[in-house]
Symmetry: C2
DNA sequence: GAGGGTTTGTGCACTCGTGCACAAGCTCGG
DNA sequence: CCGAGCTTGTGCACGAGTGCACAAACCCTC
């Protein structure tokens, strides 16, 4: 009798993927799926998928598989998609706009309740289509926007210089979860959770592995020890 | 005598952060830094930082700390920032534009050699400021753009439906590293490395923890077991 | 030149994540 | 009603990552 709570972080990070894949299956009219199929579509090992799902409870049927509708619902409930999450976005540059226009938010329970920017040329403009349209407020009205919309999640898409300041004001206003796109390490109280997405870092990790691969193949061609990397110079 | 190669993945993922923080220190005129300080600025444990850096070699001085300039160079070399990495971006929506305009690319060795989009209204337009300006090519010219620019890294910022197709064409044309922003699990050959950034997933992870926190505090207020969630209601 | 203070580099132990392999349990046909 | 054939759920072992704690090594002062 495992206590339902305390799902491993690694599992939580994968649940949204399963949920997305399963939603696709629902649209395709599939009603039952095996761990093998779902794992393949999600790009993970089937044993890991079963263990992940077992943390939510025992919703599969041995010899058959999982009921797609039931599984979608259970994952949605665990992730909190069943309720609606107000989100506020600071910084309406290209990145902020990409988020404001992102179609997948509504269906996953997120609702943008405020856009903020410091640029007077942007303040007052409207982004987002149809019912999701939102006017951009001045960044100085942050506290008021948070008070009105009561967002639990704040997105920081402002330049690095102002990220910490916006973060401080968010947390002071009661925002307890922050998604940070600015390339700085935010300092926050323990009660606040921060997740970071750094585009340059991701590219650099790819570049590193790319370089490793090239050095490896280089070494297979000409078998020279790399002891003398004195002349660093141009890698043309 | 550890063999220089085979740096742990977890370390590789942090090197870009150290590099960024150190670059900031250089700009501030700092010449020497201790593991304690650098770790604090990078948001990690100091022992972990020292172990990370030890994988590059022994570039610190006991009793003193690390020479900032030397460390910046060594990390840059390890990450491959010393050479230039051509990058091609497919999809010039808000996200693709955010990348095209991102200022931190040049300084980290990345150079955009091609922008691609399927929308005729966007093809032919120019994005990026000054010397980084780039004309948007038609997506059907992907192979030609890759042949001309010889990019090692391809960024996929197209809608989910066309992501796999673009990915296949990228890899067929010789791109061996892919950064995927589309919410799909790409299927590729083993020789190709894919990294994924999914905005909705990040928000859902935050929402999950937010919900956990609320349930925890709720339970402290009213101590009711959640055993009876039988009446789930309509799952139309 | 010697000793105190400081900081790096790393051995060690612990935790977490992953995947194999198999028992438990379901369905369906006879 | 029973057995064959699947598929789930999980015990177990292995590997990777993390952080404490300490020896090794350096600088500076006297």
């Amino acid at each position: 009798m495992t206590v339902r709570r305390s799902i491993p972080d690694a599992t939580v990070a994968r649940l949204p993927i399963y949920h997305r894949v399963l939603t696709g299956l629902v649209d395709s009219g599939v009603t039952t799926v095996s761990s093998e199929e779902l794992a393949a579509d999600s790009g993970v090992n089937s044993a890991m998928l079963r263990k992940d799902l077992s943390h939510l409870g025992s919703y599969g049927t041995r010899g058959v598989g999982y009921d797609v509708d039931l599984l979608v619902y259970q994952i949605a409930r665990e992730l909190g998609i069943t309720s609606e999450w107000p989100v506020v976005i600071a910084g309406v540059g290209n990145l902020g706009r990409a988020l404001a226009n992102y179609g997948g938010f509504d269906s996953r329970g997120f609702r943008i309740v405020g856009l903020l920017d410091a640029d007077p040329q942007v303040v007052g403009r409207t982004f987002g289509r149809g019912a999701r349209a939102q006017i951009v407020h001045d960044l100085s009205d942050l506290e008021q926007v948070v008070a009105d919309g009561q967002p639990a999640i704040g997105v920081i898409a402002v330049p690095a210089e102002s990220a910490q300041s916006v973060c401080d004001r968010f947390t002071a206003a009661g925002v307890s979860s922050i998604l940070n796109f600015a390339p700085v390490e935010l300092v926050v109280a323990d009660s606040v959770e921060v997740r970071k997405v750094d585009l340059a870092t991701e590219l650099q990790i790819l570049a590193f592995h790319e370089q490793q691969r090239r050095q490896r193949t280089d070494r297979e061609l000409i078998d020279v020890t790399d002891a003398n990397l004195a002349g660093v110079g141009d890698r043309t």
